[in-house]
Symmetry: C2
DNA sequence: TTTTTTGTACTGACCGGTCAGTTCAAAGGT
DNA sequence: ACCTTTGAACTGACCGGTCAGTACAAAAAA
């Protein structure tokens, strides 16, 4: 029995998450076998089934785990910006940067999330719905705040704009990793920032 | 013997494309069986292998087919806008609309494209690379043109901005279909247009 | 002692790909 | 007009391999 922060079990689960996330990102859920996951985690197959009731459940918990990290990172970026006395638009900018940093650090998770998000009729569809709503809600909150304080125009459509912003960051970052890896995070950030601040085709 | 424009074979291939695209969008490539594809197309399994040398090849040709439609649609939107004497920024706006219309019409294809695009080490990786480049290039061309004519600032980073714009449209549209289907295409279009024209946080 | 992990062996369902045989419309012969 | 042949297109039963999940005794950890 262990009573401290990380039980043995938690450590095993963590290893399994890390093994599963890269494999599933590369090959997709169905093409990834439980044997492979166990092998990469350096664990026996039986252990997988001791810790999770099925392959699907392992995946669902992986999703919850990862999105937890992302939303925490976005929220704390927004808060820190607020504490520094920044505007709400600066908070958005800080969130873009935090999003990029997250994707830079956990590219596999992001790949997997994007690949699964819009699938229909899958077992974990409901999990994804919840998890997506959490992430988009963070952006919506800041947008709503900004409209309330008059920083942004009333005419913007908050849910659609939030989705578009998230999408912009997600896809730009994945594209960066996959097709233009020689760019620095600063270059990507400023390209997106320019778009946000309307200097791409600003009035 | 048949010699006219649409051979029997082409008709069968078309049926197989249509069956495969929805199934793969819903469940992913590996989770979709050849038997299912054949059944939905109303064709025997052997016919699939008579027309395509493997499941993978069927998928690759499906990708080429679909992206062909998309780029044609984007390019013609840009051209038509040009013929009406519009600015390059108006052409971008027209392309956003064309992109949304495409996704509205072929949602399954878009889902599948996004889900597979950033996977690594897959058989069809090289096909996707080509196919992505075609799509992004259309946007890059218009951006480059706009910078040349002074319509857009020299400081924008063309490849990154093009990727971001494509991503914004892609993700916003999928999100619209999946989570906010009650919105009209006009609402989505104007939300994105506002972002493009910098009126979300324009100076 | 209790919890967790290991490793091997097994099962049964499922799936990609194959192939011998069928269908049928057009071409060619009579 | 009436048979015969040809070959592209299609069919579906079948085969060999793969994989999620199970079983369980023994070891290691706590």
């Amino acid at each position: 029995m262990e009573s401290s922060g990380t039980t043995r079990r938690q450590a095993t689960r963590q290893k399994l998450y890390e093994a599963a996330v890269t494999l599933i990102a590369e090959k997709g859920f169905s093409a990834t076998t439980v044997d492979e996951i166990a092998e990469r985690a350096g664990v026996a197959k039986g252990t997988v089934y001791y810790n999770f009731k099925s392959k699907t459940e392992l995946f669902e918990e992986l999703l919850r785990h990862g999105v937890g990290l992302l939303t925490a990172s976005l929220r704390s970026a927004a808060e820190e910006s607020g504490e520094r006395g920044g505007t709400r638009v600066e908070a958005l900018d800080a969130m873009i940067r935090a999003g990029l940093a997250f994707i830079d650090r956990y590219p596999a998770f992001t790949q997997l999330y994007v690949a699964e998000l819009w699938r229909t009729n899958r077992a974990w569809q409901s999990t994804l719905l919840v998890v997506r709503q959490e992430a988009v809600a963070v952006v919506e909150d800041v947008l709503r705040e900004a409209v309330r304080t008059g920083e942004l125009s009333e005419e913007i459509d908050i849910p659609l704009t939030a989705a578009a912003l998230v999408g912009m960051v997600l896809v730009a970052a994945l594209d960066w990793q996959a097709f233009q890896p020689e760019r620095s995070i600063d270059e990507v950030h400023s390209a997106l920032s320019l778009l946000l601040h309307g200097r791409v085709s600003g009035h």
